[in-house]
């Protein structure tokens, strides 16, 4: 997608001018015209996709084709607390966030021109964050994005051959092996995947075959919130600073396909490989699509198991 207007988006504003904070009386207007808020969702001011996307003015050649960037880009404000550290927030904040994510998945996915609702978070300057206020994003695409499409195609192929969801099978194998499991509760399991690309890569899998947020019960909302918070606490305990990451929620496409082989899961990609060293994507990763991980997933899972908190938090 090419979105040239994003080149001029707000870049690391001072704290006093944060556009994601509430608008204080007598202060500058921000994105949120209220003195305080709980959780807020709004359309991105610099969207890569728009509901009323501009018509394509460039002409196609016989070889190069253009398409409209129709879709929706939303910002999700996790809290009004600019300096808030999410791992220190109570469990109830995570439950609220899960409820909002579910609502956005349903509402955006109901639109006939949306094929995939992608919920994600970029956290920390190390992954390119330009606004420090705790927030995530949602891109509602008019197509299934390529990484997810490849993942779903693999699961579809496996389902056709074996009659089983690839993720259900993977989780079964991971549980049998056990060495890469970090923690689990009734509904979810957190693990460092067998083929982790990043040192502290963590996935959270639904224990049963939930294809999307639409399949969640209230208990599963709470269980997801609890394991999500526990992983963030463990991340932040590792090196004594708020651990940056890219977080991606993968689930069923909203075009109605693939319920039997789509499996709700969350992927965390933290860029740090040690306390003071970052993982960079270089020749093999960018040029050949082959990640080199310098650490054993089994050892990193052990490290994350051992780091506090012990067990799933429920507060």
């Amino acid at each position: 997608m090419i979105a040239t207007h994003r080149q001029n988006r707000t870049y690391k504003p001072p704290k006093d001018y944060c556009p994601l904070c509430p608008t204080k009386k007598g202060g500058l207007s921000t994105e949120v015209p209220a003195e305080d808020y709980d959780i807020v969702v709004f359309e991105n001011k610099f969207p890569s996709l728009q509901q009323d996307s501009p018509e394509v003015t460039e002409k196609d050649s016989k070889f190069f084709k253009h398409g409209k960037a129709q879709g929706i880009c939303e910002v999700v404000l996790f809290t009004s607390d600019h300096d808030g550290i999410m791992s220190e927030k109570p469990l109830s904040r995570y439950i609220k966030l899960v409820k909002v994510w579910r609502d956005r998945y349903r509402e955006l996915g109901d639109k006939d021109y949306i094929d995939y609702v992608f919920i994600f978070e970029n956290k920390g300057e190390e992954v390119g964050v330009t606004l420090h206020h705790p927030h995530g994003q949602i891109y509602a695409y008019p197509f299934i994005p390529p990484v997810i499409e490849q993942e779903l195609n693999s699961s579809k192929e496996y389902f056709k051959k074996e009659g089983e969801c690839l993720f259900c099978k993977t989780l079964k194998e991971e549980k049998e092996d056990g060495r890469r499991i970090i923690i689990s509760n009734d509904s979810f399991t957190a693990l460092v995947p067998f083929s982790a690309s990043y040192t502290y890569e963590v996935h959270i899998y639904a224990n049963k075959h939930l294809s999307s947020f639409n399949d969640f019960s209230e208990k599963e909302e709470i269980d997801l919130a609890a394991i999500f918070k526990t992983i963030l606490m463990k991340f932040d305990s590792l090196f004594g600073f708020v651990f940056p990451y890219i977080m991606a929620i993968h689930q069923q496409a909203t075009n109605g396909t693939g319920k039997e082989y789509s499996h709700f899961h969350i992927e965390f990609y933290p860029p740090y490989r040690t306390k003071d060293k970052l993982k960079y994507l270089a020749g093999s990763e960018i040029g050949a699509g082959t990640f080199i991980n310098n650490c054993l997933p089994e050892e990193k899972a052990q490290e994350l198991r051992d780091i506090p908190p012990e067990g799933i938090v429920c507060y």
């Binding site: 209220a34 003195e35 709980d38 807020v40 709004f42 609220k96 909002v100 609502d103």
Partner: protein
């Protein structure tokens, strides 16, 4: 915990949704009910805003 939402239209036409929650257990210790403060900015609210029944803007 029940979820409620109130949608407004911003000056530039974009939508914004305030989510609020009714928590019977009073579990969260952050302590403030932001709904009252949101209503203190009525001039910012679209008259067509509503809580549970949603429309596309």
């Amino acid at each position: 915990m029940q979820i409620q939402k109130k949608r407004i239209k911003k000056e530039d036409g974009r939508y914004l949704i305030y989510y609020t929650f009714i928590d019977e257990t009073k579990e969260e210790k952050e302590g403030r009910d932001v709904r009252t403060k949101m209503e203190s900015h009525p001039e910012a609210m679209d008259n067509d805003s509503h809580s549970s029944t949603e429309q596309d803007l």
